[in-house]
Subunit: 134 residues, 2 copies
Amino acid sequence: MGYKTKQGELIFGILEKNADRHLTAEEICVLLKAEGNAVGTTTVYRNLEKLIAEGKIRRFRLEEGEPACYQYMGGECHEHFHLKCLGCGEIIHFECDYLGELSEHLMAHHDFELDRTKITLYGTCSECRKAGVV
Amino acid sequence: MGYKTKQGELIFGILEKNADRHLTAEEICVLLKAEGNAVGTTTVYRNLEKLIAEGKIRRFRLEEGEPACYQYMGGECHEHFHLKCLGCGEIIHFECDYLGELSEHLMAHHDFELDRTKITLYGTCSECRKAGVV
DNA sequence: CTAAGTGCAAAATGTTTGCATACTT
DNA sequence: AAGTATGCAAACATTTTGCACTTAG
């Protein structure tokens, strides 16, 4: 299960090429069309779902009512924090001992076992705070 | 600007009475109807918008594609945490002082200003751990 | 040849808008 | 009376589904 298709590769290609930013499903369609490789919206959504399941990309919902954004995540970023800046969209990845503390706190006080592979926190990076964005 | 209406008070009343939980717009409609005070969906949405603007309630978006949830905030700026169990899908929402610590840590060590309104962590609740789910 | 993928049109979902009517002040 | 609010129906926007057709293995 899982054939390799031209469309699937095109979609992944776009995300890979734009690893530094997040793209909506529609933006992906537009970019593909601009390349002369139009792909149906349905197919884009279905392939995005697959890529998420494979852990190759991530979906983010940034704003109320706005469409979801997708972004290439490499494949190696599973054991750390992701901080996503709401200003510039940049994703900051890092290892941090504090993760252990958070995890312990949740278990001790809330009887909840944290899945450390899915942590994305939102906020504003120093650049954007300086620039007054957000 | 702003007349006091029966519907507006009913809607706020429901939120106030359910200050301990999240309610979707639809749930609010259902609860109102159950009270024998049916209010139109449109009106519910419009009043929710107003209450948010006044800072009396807050809107949360937990999951992709799922409806927004609204909750009475008592005028105080409570820190709000969401834990989503990957086993049963239940969302545990509550206030916790630890959020302040996490927030300070991120600012002090990572120069990142946390948006406390968008925090959802994933993991496994005690029930599901016992049941061996996940 | 068979399973999987594609893409159009249509449905589903949650939310918003147009507008005539009803209510507040 | 004048200005708001209501609520139905219809519009919206994003995402999903049904289905006949194409493509990969």
